[in-house]
């Protein structure tokens, strides 16, 4: 916080501003740990562990088999090395693949029965469950508490608070929103049909590992011609040490439906790196629309690059139906290493994909993120707006693909990726791939790299702002195209996050 102390009084900044900045400052806010008794599976990954996870989730045989075949594939795959990230080799056998609070072994029937420590955890995370629900209409069924075992908790916390009402309301609308483990038990026909249909079990190293060992995640089904009556949300938290989190999310938007889905995540400060490898699959049928917004705020490691989450995520949306639409919005502020490319397969004619991203890398963070827009259908449209900000000694890479297949006539893509460098020790990189295979489509790509404009900073400082405030303001301005695409309650959080993430990067 040295930077703040230097700035405030000396600059004669009005005290309110200083306090406000202090408030959002304090580096990583979510770095505390919940002391709770845990139940772990033995360390490492092997077919027995895969079976054990499957058992714990009370899965049917076909699911266990699916996992085992994925595991078999994974054993013969090689870790990808093409991303611009460097980290020590991960020992995949030196991690726990399953951990849950002991109080969750017996599924609590209501919130009263839930370990108060878990409830307090969420309270403290600043997800004031009730408030949030009132404010955002968040259903919250899908709260992965401390240890990645969210099954019980989501049901529990739903049944206590307004959740039940919402659950009933969702049910009335025909919406299924539950944990994926519950879906495997309760809606096997849907899971069987869609799981792995967008991100096959053999897709890539991390997705394959996830297919074998995913412990939980969310499942959403929106029936035809239904507008999901509220926004659905998942909050992920890693708490246990040396434990990898592997969640799997499957969202199905049937014909003519609409849903907006929010995802958030945090983890405690620990000085060993932790692994997170998630898979998100979205299937969008005719005339349906899905908005998927993420604020990724995993623990980024300390200012010396110790600890943090290795975030290897595969997210893909398949716009199967004509006129279907998907919008990915992400604010990436956390994680020591990010490897993430939310993609759109625009299969249906007139389908649309959008990707809005802010990636902030400070200190020793490394982010390699972007998107793929695969245009297969006629008259498909895609738009990419990516804002990368690097500070400290961080490396930030945009990596993307826009592919116009020969049959994707009259399609359109617009890509804009801008990078901002704060300080002369960091790096900003752009690696776009553009493949155009028909001439009725138009593809435009623009990228710029610059530093925070001195004139703008001077202007802000002249009006009494501290330097860090000024930078945060300018950066927020730089990000505004993306911030505007976020749902309201996320936009507020994201703006604050931008300021926090950059803390200490000035001067």
């Amino acid at each position: 916080m040295a930077a703040f102390d230097n700035v405030d009084v000396k600059e004669g900044v009005d005290q309110e501003t200083v306090d406000a900045v202090r408030e959002v400052g304090g580096a990583y806010k979510y770095g505390w740990n919940t002391e709770i008794e845990m139940e772990y599976a033995p360390k490492g990954v092997n077919p027995d562990i895969v079976r054990l996870i499957s058992d714990k989730n009370e899965e049917p045989e076909w699911m266990t088999e699916w996992r085992l075949s994925a595991f078999q594939r994974w054993e013969n795959m090689e870790e990808p090395t093409w991303a611009m990230v460097n980290y020590p080799k991960i020992d995949f056998q030196d991690q726990y693949y399953y951990a849950r609070p002991k109080s969750m072994i017996e599924k609590p029937k209501s919130l009263e029965e839930v370990d108060p420590k878990l409830l307090a955890t969420y309270e403290k995370l600043g997800i004031p469950l009730k408030e949030q629900m009132i404010l955002a209409g968040v259903e919250g069924a899908e709260n992965m508490p401390a240890e990645g075992r969210k099954v019980a908790v989501d049901a529990v916390f739903d049944s206590v608070s307004v959740g039940t009402t919402f659950q009933a309301e969702l049910k009335k609308a025909g919406v299924i929103f539950c944990s994926i483990s519950e879906a495997i038990r309760e809606h096997p026909e849907l899971v069987k049909k869609y799981l792995g249909s967008v991100v096959p079990a053999s897709d890539n190293y991390y997705a394959t590992l996830n297919s074998a060992v995913f412990s939980d995640g969310s499942f959403v089904y929106i029936p035809p011609n239904t507008r999901c009556p509220m926004e659905l949300s998942t909050y992920f938290r890693i708490n246990a040490e040396n434990t990898g989190q592997f969640e799997r999310t499957l969202i199905i938007a049937d014909k003519g439906s609409y849903v907006s889905y929010l995802e958030g995540c945090t983890a405690p400060k620990r000085d060993t790196a932790q692994l997170h490898a998630a898979v998100v699959e979205i299937i969008i049928e005719e005339d349906a629309e899905v908005k998927y917004s993420t604020v990724q705020n995993w623990y980024p490691g300390d200012e010396n690059g110790v600890g943090g989450i290795y975030n290897f995520v595969t997210k893909r949306a398949d716009c199967r139906g004509d006129r279907s639409k998907v919008m990915w919005t992400q604010v990436e502020t956390g994680s020591a290493v990010t490897w993430k490319y939310p993609s759109c397969i625009l299969r249906g004619n007139d389908s649309q994909g959008e990707f809005y991203s802010i990636a902030i890398a400070n200190n020793h963070q490394q982010a390699d993120t972007g998107t793929k827009m695969i245009h297969l259908g006629k008259n498909t449209k895609s738009r990419i707006v990516s804002k990368g900000i690097s500070a400290g000694v961080a490396q930030n890479t945009y990596r993307g693909l826009v592919s116009m297949h020969p049959k994707a006539k009259n399609s359109r893509n617009y890509t804009q990726c801008d990078s901002l460098l704060i300080g002369d020790k960091c790096g900003a990189h752009t690696v776009p791939y553009i493949e155009v295979k028909n001439n009725s489509s138009r593809v435009e790509h623009e990228a710029t790299t610059s530093k925070v404009d001195d004139d703008q900073l001077f202007y802000c400082r002249q009006r009494g702002m501290g330097e860090e405030d000024a930078v945060a303001l300018v950066v927020n301005g730089f990000c505004k195209d993306v911030l505007q695409a976020l749902p309201m309650e996320f936009a507020m959080e994201a703006q604050q996050l931008v300021a926090i993430s950059l803390e200490g990067s000035v001067g």
Binding site: W82, P406, K409, S419, L421, I422, G423, D424, K425, C426, G427, A428, H429, T430, V431, P432, Y433, I434, E435, V436, K437, N438, N439, S440, S441, R442, V443, E444, H445, E446, A447, T448, T449, S450, K451
Partner: protein, 428 residues
């Protein structure tokens, strides 16, 4: 790391088909280059750097025959200019057609003749810039050239040389497999213009190493010949000193496969580098511009302008990268790659990259692809311009931004003339 078996076999086969010239000052550079090829292996289509262009026909031991094209409907492109003419036929120096190599202000020799000397100014450059250009991306075909090219031109400009040097490459045999390695040194405050034209051979591998000293200027304009079946892989490796200027423009019309790599390193403050390319392709045509510019000094400017007009299944590739090192503050980097697809069968594949480690920079790149602007076409047609003329007009306008990078407007006009002639012939 050991090479993959298939790469090893292919590399061995190619090396077995070549003979290394012996003796003289280049001997060490050649041996080192051979070692580089052996450790890197020749490019393979699984290599990320060859993602969009298949290298097999460039690496095979045997050359794929390419019919000699009769271009007698046009005089050689730079024939009207007053220049020092040097002619190679299928990669072999032709003394009869070439001028006397003695010219004021210019030291100019053939590699084959100069190599027998014990010491030579070119020794510091030959293979050195190529080696520097192997990092971070390997370019085995350039190292192969350094090891095995028997001939080439060594030019040292010590003053402002008004009269351009004009290299003409004639293709005569349909099985010719040529390699040339040029070394150019522009001394402090000197200036040189180099012209290159012609198809050169059925398969042509050319490396040009260019060292531009402080305040030096190097201008390069080339036109790759019209032979439909020719294949070429060319590399330019250039190092730029303080306040030096490097400008290179390439016109490519036809050719079944062309890969032009340009690797520039701006090592002196306030250096300027512009590289541009215009290519027009029809039918079986694959054109790849691969550029890597490293900014390693303060206040440098680099500009890349690449335009491609493609039809009947022609493929255009652009891989361009700007790397700004941590101390290269005040860098101004610009890159644009655009393609005009005249029909639905053609493809444009691009990978425009930025890698930036300095904060006080302004770098941008843009890339677009699409058909002719319908509204512009309609406008011209409504003013009575026939559709096909209007298309040509708009195509030339599209290419103009690249041609503007040619400093000498006379040469620029010649290039434009060639492009419109190419378009006119397509209509017949």
């Amino acid at each position: 790391m050991a090479l993959a078996k298939v790469t090893q076999d292919e590399t061995d086969a190619r090396l077995a088909s070549l003979s290394m010239p012996e003796g003289g000052w280049p001997a060490i550079a050649r041996r080192d280059a051979l070692a580089r090829v052996q450790s890197m292996g020749l490019p393979h289509r699984r290599d990320e750097y060859w993602k969009y262009t298949r290298p097999e026909s460039l690496t095979s031991p045997d050359v794929i025959p390419a019919a000699v094209f009769d271009a007698s409907d046009e005089a050689p492109i730079f024939a009207t200019l007053d220049a020092l003419n040097i002619v190679f036929v299928d990669g072999v120096f032709d003394a009869d057609q070439s001028d006397d190599l003695a010219q004021t202000g210019l030291e100019i020799e053939r590699l084959e003749n100069a190599a027998s000397a014990d010491i030579h100014w070119a020794q510091d450059i030959y293979g050195t810039l190529e080696t520097a250009g192997q990092n971070p991306v390997k370019r085995p075909l350039a190292a192969l050239n350094t090891a095995f090219a028997h001939d080439g031109i060594l030019i040292r400009a010590t003053t402002i040389v008004e009269r351009p040097v004009n290299l003409t490459y004639i293709h005569k045999s349909d099985r010719s497999d040529a390699m040339l390695h040029h070394v150019i040194k522009v001394e402090q405050g000197a200036k040189l213009t180099l012209l290159e034209s012609g198809p050169a051979a059925s398969r042509f591998n050319k490396v040009m190493e260019v060292s531009v000293s402080d305040q030096g200027e190097f201008h390069h304009v080339r036109a790759q010949g019209r032979d439909h079946e020719r294949r070429a892989v060319t590399h330019i490796f250039a190092r730029l000193g303080e306040e030096s200027v490097f400008k290179s423009f390439t016109l490519t019309a036809n050719g079944v496969l062309t890969r032009n790599e340009c690797v520039l390193e701006l090592t002196g403050d306030n250096a300027v580098a512009h590289i541009a390319g215009a290519c027009v392709g029809d039918g079986e045509f694959h054109h790849d511009d691969t550029v890597f510019i490293t900014h390693d000094a303060v206040g440098c400017e680099s500009r890349q302008v690449f335009k491609k007009v493609l039809r009947n299944g022609a493929i255009g590739v652009f891989q361009g990268k700007i790397l700004v090192k941590p101390d290269a503050q005040k860098t101004d980097g610009y890159q644009i790659s655009q393609s005009l697809l005249l029909d639905d069968d053609s493809q444009f594949l691009a990978k425009p990259e930025l890698e930036i480690y300095a904060d006080d920079v302004a770098c941008s790149h843009g890339s677009t692809s699409g058909a002719i602007d319908e509204e512009a076409l309609f406008y011209l047609k409504s003013r009575g311009v026939p559709a096909s003329d209007a298309t040509d007009l708009l195509t030339l306008a599209f290419l103009a931004e690249a041609v503007q990078e040619v400093e000498d407007s006379n040469i620029g006009d010649i290039v434009t003339e060639r492009m419109s002639a190419w378009l006119a012939r397509r209509k017949r």
